[in-house]
Symmetry: C3
Subunit: 429 residues, 3 copies
């Protein structure tokens, strides 16, 4: 057994808390294979490889029909790591033994999965087999946060709509209804947002989160400008680019102030351009411009020394900046490997750079970003294999570390820092 294998074994024995997912706590596990193959990674890759969108997304087809159609596209994506997640789920949960899902074997897999998923304790089984203790959610600002156990499904206040879409009447309506506060200017908007923080914290919320486009550069907005922008929006008038920008900046800065006031970590996912390919499948339309710099966030990091900013970057070319900013700013923590950077080649190099240069307590190794619980297992397994590889090669081999010391470091980034930064698990405050 190699060093790498032994390290993996140790890391794999940990019970995990997943610090960022899109799980629906009322529907956390898959009901059938379509819930897994419908994940945008498979629909978008199958579409890119040749399947027509209207074929994949035709209304009214059954889950089984949908899977059957997607299987046609799998042959051309069986090289991808995303495909390997599906395989690992099939093997770990559904006793699948083949090395590919094909036109010949998918139906038996579908049926096997359906039988297992129908078990009354399927959710509990998935959590247990995946060694998952808890997962963070992604909650709309007006989510009632009811009907689930917040010590397993930890609320997280997602704020994209507030920052970028408050110009839309429906969003304003929802904010006023949820908060019970009539908004007519910066003060009342702040009160309404504050009410949401109070509500969320009362329900066990442990983070505020947002995804941001590459050209976003937070700064404090003059009150007069905020008033003007809010007045324009509330009159129902269209916001020009400058007004929209002022409104977004004002809301964002106010959220940072509230994170400060309520001692909530602020989870920034930096770099995504939405709907770059509007002809793409559901959730398969976003891309990015890698020309982004964390220097755009210097004012924010300086203005809120007591807010912990958990930073995810979409493009691996930004990883060195993230490492350096986490090395210098006490309030900047490197967070996971996001989306287009969540593949082994990028994880390996990004992780190595972080582990060797930023303080060990300034990095949270991984989150799954999953929509269904079944994906935690293969995604974390991928990460743990790479973590074991980097620890074995860059620490044990290149730097002469003992294995025990390497395992300690691995466990800190995998679990310890999640506990401490968010105040959850054994590190709960």
């Amino acid at each position: 057994m190699s060093v790498r294998d032994r390290l993996f074994g140790e890391l794999d024995s940990l019970t995990l808390i997943d610090p960022h997912t899109h799980i629906d706590p009322l529907n956390p596990a898959a009901k059938n294979l379509a819930d897994l193959l419908g994940y945008h990674y498979y629909t978008e890759l199958a579409h890119s490889a040749g399947l027509r969108r209207d074929w994949i997304e035709e209304r009214g087809i059954s889950p089984k029909e949908k899977v059957g159609r997607l299987v046609e596209g799998l042959e051309k994506i069986d090289n991808t790591i995303q495909y390997s997640w599906l395989l690992e789920i099939a093997r770990e949960f559904f006793d699948f033994t083949a090395d590919r899902v094909t036109l010949d074997n998918w139906e038996s897999l579908y049926d096997a999965a359906l039988a297992k998923m129908a078990l009354p304790d399927w959710e509990r089984r998935v959590l247990a087999h995946s060694k998952l203790e808890a997962v963070f959610l992604t909650n709309d600002f007006d989510d009632p946060l009811a009907g689930f156990d917040p010590s397993i499904y930890i609320p997280c206040l997602r704020t994209d709509e507030l920052v970028f879409h408050l110009g839309k009447p429906a969003i304003r309506e929802r904010l006023q209804r949820a908060s019970g506060i009539a908004v007519d200017g910066p003060q009342s908007l702040r009160r309404a947002l504050g009410q949401r923080f109070e509500f969320f914290l009362g329900r066990g919320c442990k983070a505020c989160a947002i995804s941001l486009p590459p050209d976003f550069a937070p700064c404090r907005v003059e009150n007069a400008a905020a008033e003007r922008a809010i007045a324009t929006a509330w009159r129902g008038e269209p916001l020009d680019a400058d007004r929209q920008r002022e409104l977004s900046l004002f809301v964002f800065w106010t959220l940072a102030e509230l994170c400060d006031q309520f001692r909530l970590p602020f989870d920034l996912m930096i770099g995504v351009n939405r709907a770059v390919y509007p002809g793409g499948v559901f959730q398969g339309q976003d891309l990015y411009d890698s020309r982004v710099s964390l220097i755009q966030y210097r004012d924010l990091f300086n203005a809120f020394p007591n807010v912990t900013f958990l930073i995810s970057v979409l493009a691996s070319v930004t990883n060195q900046e993230l490492t350096s900013f986490a090395w210098i700013f006490p309030n900047v923590v490197a967070h996971g490997h996001w989306w287009y950077s969540n593949t082994p080649a990028f994880i390996e190099r990004d992780l190595a750079a972080r582990l060797e240069a930023a303080p060990r307590n300034k990095q949270i190794g991984y989150y799954s970003d999953m929509y269904k619980l079944e994906f935690a297992l293969p995604k974390f397994a991928m990460y743990k294999r790479i973590l074991a590889k980097v620890l074995a090669e860059n620490f044990c081999c290149d730097r002469g570390w003992g294995e025990e010391r390497a395992v300690e470091l691995g466990k800190e980034v995998l679990r310890g820092n999640v506990e401490r930064v968010f105040g959850v698990g054994r590190g709960r405050v």
Copy 2:
């Protein structure tokens, strides 16, 4: 024999089609060693290492004298991978056995090469020994495309001059003469370009190609703007920056429309700045600004869903974007490892990222970009060694793939996708 060696052996047995070269089909192979050492890689590196340009490029010196002078500069570049290509040619084709070309042994190498190159079937021998079935050309828009076998030397319509230099009277003249169409506005310009497409397709052309500067961002130009720009140019007046831009954009967009109409893949080589070092040797003056993003091409990719865009990026920092765009856009294919990114360290990391995240049918592994046939062998060998390494380490070792499956994937990116995307070879349509 290691996994890596076995995989290389399998990949090396393939007969290849080289999807992008600068071969002159009437003069495809070298006539003497100066034709090889005169490749800009050697003249520019030798110049950078210390040889004066006027010494290298002095007019009237014999090929042998030129080689003798360049050999003086080789000692300082014998670390480079570019130098290793030369060595591999010398060993594979001219029975050279030393590990460096020196002042003491170059003359015998020169003479040995001269003797071989004088053989009447030298071209055929090079093709056979290199396992080359066909190579794509780079043809001027007014190339007569005569005198060669288009099933071995496949025409490719190169369009840089049309897009960027139509303001020059000589280029306009050549276009009008070649097309037989008097151009006086957008409509007639489109007809003239269309005539060229028809001519090229009639002669077996399989791609349209262009290299683009980092700040190029294609978009549709209003007809009125195109008319104005064309009128200005055709009156012989100088084009200011805005007019030049409109003219370039109009021609480029029209080429994309014609690729759509004629179902021709459009080969975009993105990121080069020309003549950055005007004091450099011939073809050794170009560099780049790595601050470029494929987001500049979003309108193009959306507007032409039926055109296959083969994308080469000059800087490795753009490779993740290329991988992600090929993963999302059905009409984007990652294409080879271009120029300054065509060295092992960059190929290895760029290739690994593509193989693990983009559909297997959305990537064409490699092209040689060569000017003389002799270079296909060492350049493809370099690529195949890296491909074997990545498949062995990242797929067989890290992901548990069997060797057969790894070889299949390697063959698809090396050859299968060339056939399918361009409709050549066994995949000819």
Copy 3:
């Protein structure tokens, strides 16, 4: 013993010249452990990991108290390569045997170091044990350059203050006093700067150096603009952004002209933003924007073909450009691995890219950037281990090189090129 180990042994036997440091030649070695732990790498990392700045930097605390406080923060940074430098110093120089510096063992380490550092020949011992023949300094433009041996401590004219702070009365005063020239316009400013060059060269200066922000783009400034900017500054009026820019550009370009005239290499350290985190510890406030391109320097490189530009880049994403520019421009040399790129993951990939694509005489492997002599040993050791790894894997293994040839290449980038480029050591001119 592996190839890598054998190569390291050979490289490690070399006596070195360190081409860039911040050594104070009147105080070159540490006096106590606080001189080592006070290095900004430790204070900034410990601060980032949780120690308060005012705790670390409290005035009036003793060196021992300062070390005691910093040791509290070391636990959270013991994963970093920077920490490993400290460990290696402790082992190599102070007979330390533990694998971490802890609250339990730091006092004995402190005392052991104090005893050694008190030896009358400590400086000589450090130089000898580190196999250091000479180190370059970083001298203010008005440094008297007296009291030390310039064949061991080689002067280097640092010019940041002249280029960026000549608007400050104190800097102008110092320039006029040091040069003995009353400055009232471009001509007299050039004479004052020229006087400094003459003075420095007379004292054995071998390089001119400057660090530059990411948005700097050198160009020649019209004389009238320079006159205007100088007149404004000399009248004591504040310089607006445009005037400041003109003044900076004028001084910079003049320095390049003087490097040309006096045949002095110009050491450009490109990409740092100062005081990004003003709340940080001393020297722990600077970061960067990785969106920088060497294309910003094209005019400079073209205008001064006889000046050798030694280029360091702060962000690893710029390394490919540096490699390509060194491959094309005869006067561009890749220089070391600077600051945030001076960690193994970045060095390994940046080094591999340079070694395989740029002429062997166009790259200077490494400099320590140290403030105290003790740091040369662990920093160069880190570099030599990576150099041995890259030569073993990418040259001996991947390209079939013999070990002797690999060692030759390693020695050239480690030492030979330092001698030749600067005219020092055996290569002294």
